[in-house]
Symmetry: C2
């Protein structure tokens, strides 16, 4: 039996995935968590073979959990399961040691297949997505630019962004300006959309 830990924040989806996997004879869901920051502790107890990770979760992103997993449970293989096929997500997942990357758009029967392959030591990645990630290249933004742009998503005015980061307004305007330019956008709004869509935030 392949022991699986399920990390997904939406209870309904989590339960449904568990049902789906339970129908497979060789797979057993040994634990479930709804938050990213509960994965490690639960995994240490449940000792899963494969960890199925959503990316968008409260507490900690699935992408960040990967790093800790590799350190604390080097024998567990991890599989990212996400809504968004953003090139930057895939890139970071692979850099952080994921065994595979699956989209929620994929047919549900692919899930069990991916889990078996991950458990067998293979890597599971959609070829089209991989090509996208490679052709896009890495993010052109510097750390600070990324940080400012990321805050710009949820913060309405430049003054507020400056406050949060202890920067002058002028500096924030400069970072936004270069970010807008690098992304080929016309706006801070368009810039955040582009960066978000590519998984650079």
């Amino acid at each position: 039996m392949i022991r699986v830990l399920l990390a997904e924040d939406q209870a309904m989806v989590r339960g449904a995935l568990a049902a789906l996997l339970t129908l497979e004879g060789d797979i057993e869901v040994v634990a479930e968590v709804s938050r990213g920051d509960e994965v490690i502790a639960t995994a240490l107890k449940a000792q899963p073979d494969v960890v199925l990770l959503d990316i968008e979760m409260p507490g900690q992103s699935g992408l960040d959990v990967l790093t800790d997993l590799r350190a604390k449970l080097p024998n567990a293989r991890s599989l990212i399961l996400t809504t968004f096929g953003r090139p930057g997500y895939l890139r970071r997942a692979m850099e952080n040691g994921a065994a595979g990357f699956l989209l929620k758009d994929a047919p549900s029967r692919d899930l069990a297949v991916a889990i078996r392959r991950a458990n067998a030591g293979e890597r599971v990645v959609d070829p089209g997505l991989a090509a996208d990630a490679l052709s896009e290249g890495p993010s052109p933004l510097t750390d600070r630019e990324q940080e400012v742009l990321s805050l710009a998503r949820t913060t309405s005015t430049i003054a507020e962004i400056a406050d949060r980061l202890y920067l002058s307004e002028g500096t924030v305007r400069n970072y936004l300006s270069t970010a807008i330019h690098k992304l080929g956008a016309q706006n801070r709004l368009e810039a955040t959309r582009i960066a978000e869509q590519k998984g650079w935030l």
Copy 2:
């Protein structure tokens, strides 16, 4: 057997929900669709007792499908299953004749229960959500304001919005200004966020 039609755009989630329901002895998934605009045609063939509808779907929103369902399949009961517990969504769902409103955050065992109750002619709504929807009141925006604000989410400049709606830039600025004021926002950005969060767009 309760005959269920599943309308959900993410294939993995759709398949998982089907697995979940299949484990129930008295429920049968008779059809599945991934797009809002395929619901009616499929429902006419499959004649389901209950239609499980996601809101965010390509083609047509689940909220809009409700109206057509009531007209073309008056005997089918419909159940909204969505990620977002926005008061405006719930309000519109109920006004359009939904039998129930479920969140994907709810425990997965609630789903079968809700389906059975809907099938029995009951209405299924989270009491907390209902209270929110009632206390929020309806949207304060006029049709035009809502339309302009909605476009402002995906369009970066006022000039573009004006183009799409065949309005002058000044008019668009006026609508945005009143919308910003009505929502207590400082910005077009903040205004779109507030309106979106309440389900008014």
